[in-house]
């Protein structure tokens, strides 16, 4: 075989297609991975990450397209030749025999010998170096079954390193590891790329790990590439919603500029079923509505909110959860447009929740807007802290509160009580929860 060409990419996929019977696992992937790059493959379960890795390894037969390893068509390589170009770290390896760690790492040298040759001193030196690289030199004499989960995965990495292949593939290598071992393993892998010039392709579920360590993220969905680029360009709220169906806060580490995300909630169930309960309207402001919105979204309720001041954390939460809301400029009295929008949402709602927001002259209107609905809709008043403590209107808010309660609104202590109450009084999704005669 021709030696590696420094100019071309280490790994090139052209129109790679894989189908299992009728099911298309990869629908034409084009990908160039330059030497020394750390590429993270992301995507939901079943998007084709593992299939892609297995095809490159020669474990799954492609139904179309081409794979080139260091310039050579992979299909023409014999098994041992391929192994000299590519090494693999699987998600988990379960050896049957309690092999000594030193021997186990030496297994990685297989591709460099005929069946009859014994390992050379050079093989032993390479294996010892690989073991030192993962920090397990002092365990060389121990059986691999005596290693902990984190140590065992490092041992697998050492075996793959002993293969001295210029390309390293990893399939969810940290799936069974705790957070410290995850950082440790990915740190080692990144050093291999940066210092050793090893080309890395790793399937990674944890997007924060991918963003933190990888040079590039390729996102697969239903067997197609849907995004490709540097982590900060690839990870967008829109992509997370479209590919994974989740809403997440995307932040940027102020020290490193690395993006990270905090998953908030599902836009829909993983199968794509939208929430069917509700809608429930939440009246809030000043951050009081956020926990209620998040909790009810988790419980599967469709939601609306109002009137929330712009730039308020409640407004941000509503936006992140894609909850329709009536929004008003901050610190301004509620204008007619916002009030009208709020009224529409209140009319459409099948239950109303009043969050424990501080009431001042500018948002007294917010509380008063619920009054006409008492008796026509189930209304819950979250009353902790109690209204007296957050009434900045000289008693007018408390008075409205009492009228709401007198009209049948339920005083509840917290979100747990609210969820329980909604299950009994609240709206399934079908009939409007209006047992009382309609007020005219």
């Amino acid at each position: 075989m021709r030696p590696s060409t420094a100019a071309g990419p280490a790994l090139r996929l052209t129109g790679l297609r894989v189908a299992y019977g009728d099911r298309v696992a990869l629908a034409g992937i084009d990908l160039d991975v330059p030497t020394g790059q750390f590429l993270a493959l992301a995507g939901p379960n079943g998007s084709g990450k593992t299939t892609l890795l297995r095809s490159v390894l020669g474990l799954t037969e492609p139904s179309g397209g081409a794979i080139e390893l260091l310039g050579a068509p992979a299909g023409r390589l014999r098994v041992a030749e391929r192994a000299r170009r590519i090494a693999w770290v699987p998600q988990e390896e379960s050896p049957r025999d309690d092999v000594r760690l030193a021997d186990y790492v030496l297994y990685g040298r297989f591709a460099y010998h005929g069946a009859l040759d014994a390992e050379t001193a050079e093989d032993r030196a390479i294996a010892a170096r690989a073991l030192a690289e993962v920090g397990l030199s002092d365990r060389a004499g121990d059986g691999i079954l005596s290693l902990s989960g984190g140590e065992r995965q490092r041992a697998v990495l050492a075996r793959a390193l002993a293969q001295t292949a210029p390309i390293l593939l990893l399939d969810e290598p940290t799936a069974h590891l705790d957070i410290a071992h995850q950082l440790d393993l990915f740190g080692r892998v990144r050093r291999l790329a940066r210092d050793g010039g090893v080309t890395i392709v790793a399937a990674v579920h944890d997007l924060n790990l991918a963003a933190r360590f990888a040079d590039r993220i390729v996102v697969l969905s239903h067997g197609r590439q849907v995004a490709d680029g540097a982590p900060d360009r690839v990870l967008t709220a829109e992509l997370l919603a479209r590919v994974w169906g989740i809403v997440a806060d995307l932040r940027r580490d102020p020290r490193t500029g690395i993006p990270y995300l905090i998953p908030q909630t599902l836009l829909s169930a993983p199968g794509g079923v939208p929430p069917t309960l509700g809608p429930v309207h939440v009246v809030g402001g000043g951050g009081s509505a956020s926990p209620v919105l998040v909790r009810l979204a988790d419980e599967g309720y469709r939601l609306s909110a109002g009137v929330l001041p712009l730039l308020d954390s409640d407004a941000e939460t509503a936006q992140a959860l894609a909850v329709p809301a009536a929004i008003e400029a901050p610190f301004a009295p509620i204008g007619s447009a916002a009030a009208k929008r709020n009224l529409e949402l209140l009319e459409a709602a099948r239950a109303i929740v009043v969050a424990p927001f501080p009431v001042g002259p500018s948002n007294l209107e917010n509380l008063a807007s619920v009054l006409p609905f008492v008796g026509r809709r189930p209304v819950a008043l979250l009353d902790a802290p109690p209204i007296a403590a957050r009434d900045f209107t000289g008693g007018r808010a408390t008075e409205i509160y009492e009228r709401l309660a007198a009209g049948g609104a339920e005083r509840l202590a917290d979100a747990d009580a609210l969820v329980a109450w909604l299950k009994v009084r609240g709206p399934p999704g079908s009939a409007p929860g209006a047992p009382a005669p309609a007020a005219t």
């Binding site: 021997d103 902990s148 293969q163």
Partner: protein, 233 residues
Amino acid sequence: MIYVYRFQPAEADVYLPLFAFLGAIATGLLILGVARGRYSSVETLLLTGVALANLLSAILSLLLLYNPTGSEQVTFWLLGGLGLASWPVDGIAAGSVLVLGTLLTLHGRELNLIQLGNDVAQSAGVDARRVRVRVILLASMATAVAVAFTGIIGFVGLVSPHIVRRLFRSDYRIVLPGAALVGALFLLTARDVSYVFFVGSLLPLGIFTAFAGVPFFLYLLYRQRRASTMGAM
């Protein structure tokens, strides 16, 4: 590995071993055929072997039922023993085992990797599918030669690799020849012990090895399970 046997009733002593050998090879090929193509697991192979063994033993019972004249010879063969051991037989057995055993041992490095899983072995440069076919054929042939001449002497092949693993290490380049030697030693010891303690009764060797082997095998299983649960912690 896999215990397979096949029997054709025959009058002469030569035909019984010959047909037993051919039957074993045929069964080995059949198992490979069933498990072919896919990356079938060890469990699939074992279960296929067990299923076929049951089918064949049913056929055997059927043949015995309708052909009672051969039953004495068959029963003796089924119980197993070294009664056939004499010069030409020894030569054939020793020669085949030596050749086949050497060929098997040459696959030791590949087997070391296959033990980690077919996919891992393949990624490290082992042509796992081809090696498996070769090893299963070689093992079937070696087993067939031995069983053809001695009948069924159970648990020698099951127990001796475990002893070698415990005494030395889990390297198939050592385990394969080591198990052959330990197995031979175990068999001869068992024969001598049965001569000494059951003088004149000629207790069939197969029965004796089963009595000695089964408790030891169960003990090994128990130890192994404890070791693997401790390793998982």
